[in-house]
Amino acid sequence: MTYEVDSTAVAASTPEKKQPWKELGLKKDEYERIVEILGRRPTSAELAMYSVMWSEHCSYKSSKIYLRQFGEKVTDEMKKHLMVGMGENAGVVDIGEGWAVTFKVESHNHPSYIEPFQGAATGVGGIVRDILTMGARPIAVMDQLRFGAVEHPDTARVVHGVVNGIGFYGNCLGLPNIGGETVFDKVYQGNPLVNALSVGAMKHADIKLAKASNPGDLVILFGARTGADGIGGVSVLASETFDADGPSRRPAVQVGDPFAEKVLIECCLELYAADVVAGIQDLGGAGLSCATSELASNGNAGMRVQLKDVLLRDESLTPEEILMSESQERMMAIVPPKKLKAFMAIVDKWEVETSVLGEVIDEPRLYIMWGEDEIVNVPPRTVAHDGPVYERPVKYPKWIDELNANGVIAAGLRRAEVASDLAAELVQVISSPNQASKSWITDQYDHYVGGNTALAMPDDSGMVRVSETSGLGVALATDANGRYGQLDPYAGAQLALAEAYRNVAASGAAPLAVTNCLNFGSPENPEVMWQFKQATAGLADGCLALGIPVTGGNVSFYNQTGDVAIHPTPVVGVLGVIDDVARRVPSGWQDEGNNIYLLGVTRDELDGSVWSEVIHDHLGGKPPVVDLAEEKKLADLLHGATLQGLLASAHDLSEGGLAQTMVESCLRFNVGARIWLGELQERDNLDTTAALFSESTARVLVSVGREDDVKFVGLCEARGVSVLRIGVTDGRGDDALLQVKDLADFSLQDLREPWAATIPDLFG
């Protein structure tokens, strides 16, 4: 088969040629704009580049106007620790002692539905390369998963594939997986969410940026060879929804090779240390189209590239396919010519295949040649940064009024009154799929490889040591509650932020920065756009109130099956810093005879709760009240108490309320307790159902040694955080009891069995 090159000369002389812009996902006016920019019709290679770079996934064209507020709603104080903000591959924050960390979460939802194993695996690989691109050594990963209903026959396929894929890629790379979330809900049936987070550390001086600014520098592609993996994956997979008849239209997905990535990581770090790269960019979505145009655009320069010099796995690839290919484990470096020899010596040592594709030029123009033919001649900014921006129609969804009016009280949900019924509900809640132990999943991941993991699942946050000399470390927690998001997207985003923030604080770290992965339905649906608008405003306002900046993130639209969108699921990740990980606070009770204190105030807030879902299969009303000032006060208190070493344990209250938290606190280290709810119910005017299952925010359950009692209570009072002693730890081992006065005596064994059995029974 001979290939006819559609060069710029051909394009100029055949303006009438029909082009498949529509099939590539472009709108008519977008195509016309390309013609206007170029002053002629685009070549097929240019059309491929624009279509993929102007897709929703790469251009953020529907979300951009809302994402701006993350950069606007900030104070100078918030920017103090921010070294690299939004817009780069990942944000970078200063954590002290000359160290910086970079972290980001990204979605790989659509590929993971089509091919769960490779989709999830390459999701991990992609986010790790983003972190590497900033100059950092990746030090940990986390993942945020949403699957369909547990009883649906397709759920097991996706769960097994995704969990195996994450474990395979992360374990092979030798990166600890330190946390995440797993939630099952039928809204994710035809559209699971697979978000992956990575964090990396570097010294301040080692930060790298993705830009090509010095004319004469060489453009080098290295790593894996380019094949036909995921051609059009970004524009087709991420921007269009699935047909109603399921995964029939199966485009090529990408296959990852974690061992190749491991070599690439070490190779890049050695290249950085030798100071031979002037700029670096990973190849992910949109492959070479993205890397060349972004590097040139970021550096306010241009580039001349020979595409025939790309090393191919399959010689039959056309230039358009080479530009679109999403073959994994590839990087592009900008290298000054005098450093080429040193660069080559390092890549040769690591046996990484490398080819020099071209050079940086003075003129802000991207020229791509295919042999003698010029197939691309564009201003790189128009491809990478000046894509279309839409202010899509926004419409208030009327159905939400009805939903909000139908709270647990309006709906008349029955509350158990007899102690034995309440006790049975407690067991039902903690053993429901979303509340049960996730160790069947997390045990498939390596938590401790590298020897720097201080906390991992099931603790409130994952914590890794950054400095092996001082013990300086970072804690990370991510959260999102789609049910709350559905009831009120503004509050839902803030609740996710508040919970992640609280989790970080509960582990002893000081919250410092935020990342996010905003998973929503179709932006072409005005009601979804309203949800998105609300959620982004909520998150930006929330970050401002808490004084921690958004450093970067990712938007994933078109998460829906047919016309039905998922619940708004804004995954929020909070990163905190702890000056010595030895000071970390575990989530479980450790010693007998410690006092148990509930911090914060409990309201009768059961709308959207786990209790309403598990016991009554109900969703309606208003989510819990968000009080960020209270959250901040609580976090400051926890930080102060940690510094003084007063806390034996701390565990936040969220989904499943006090019931869930006290059971998890027992089961963590098999320590029992005596709990009394009477004073709490009296002080906060609650019935037992609300005391056990309310999901009021800004609450944490802590245990404190008797010798620190006076000091701790004094600290709470001085800082104005409401504190109430609700129990004492008592007994150890499987014979120990969780005795809840006037409710029941549970043996830990009787709690552990149903809690631990649910997920293995479903998927094991």
Partner: protein, 82 residues
């Protein structure tokens, strides 16, 4: 006992990390002539008695729907042995 043999290969377009690793190892041990390696799998389905057309049709069905992952693999051959 006759066997139905199903042969599955990774799709030609996609990366085959196992094949790549073996190719690299071959090259390191001096087998330069074998430029590229791709590794698939062979599955034997044992059938008692004669293999009927219906058995083959069923084998084809499970080969495509169950024994291989159509997103990343192709069934390249189904035949009877023994």
């Amino acid at each position: 006992m006759p066997k139905i043999i199903v042969e599955v290969m990774p799709k030609a377009d996609l990366l085959d990390p196992q094949g790549k690793a073996v190719a690299n190892a071959l090259h390191r041990s001096g087998n330069e002539r074998f430029e590229n390696v791709r590794i698939g799998k062979r599955i034997e389905l044992h059938v008692s008695g004669e293999v009927t057309e219906a058995d083959l049709a069923q084998a084809k069905l499970v080969a495509e729907s169950f024994l291989s992952n159509g997103v990343i693999e192709d069934v390249v051959n189904i035949h009877v042995e023994g």
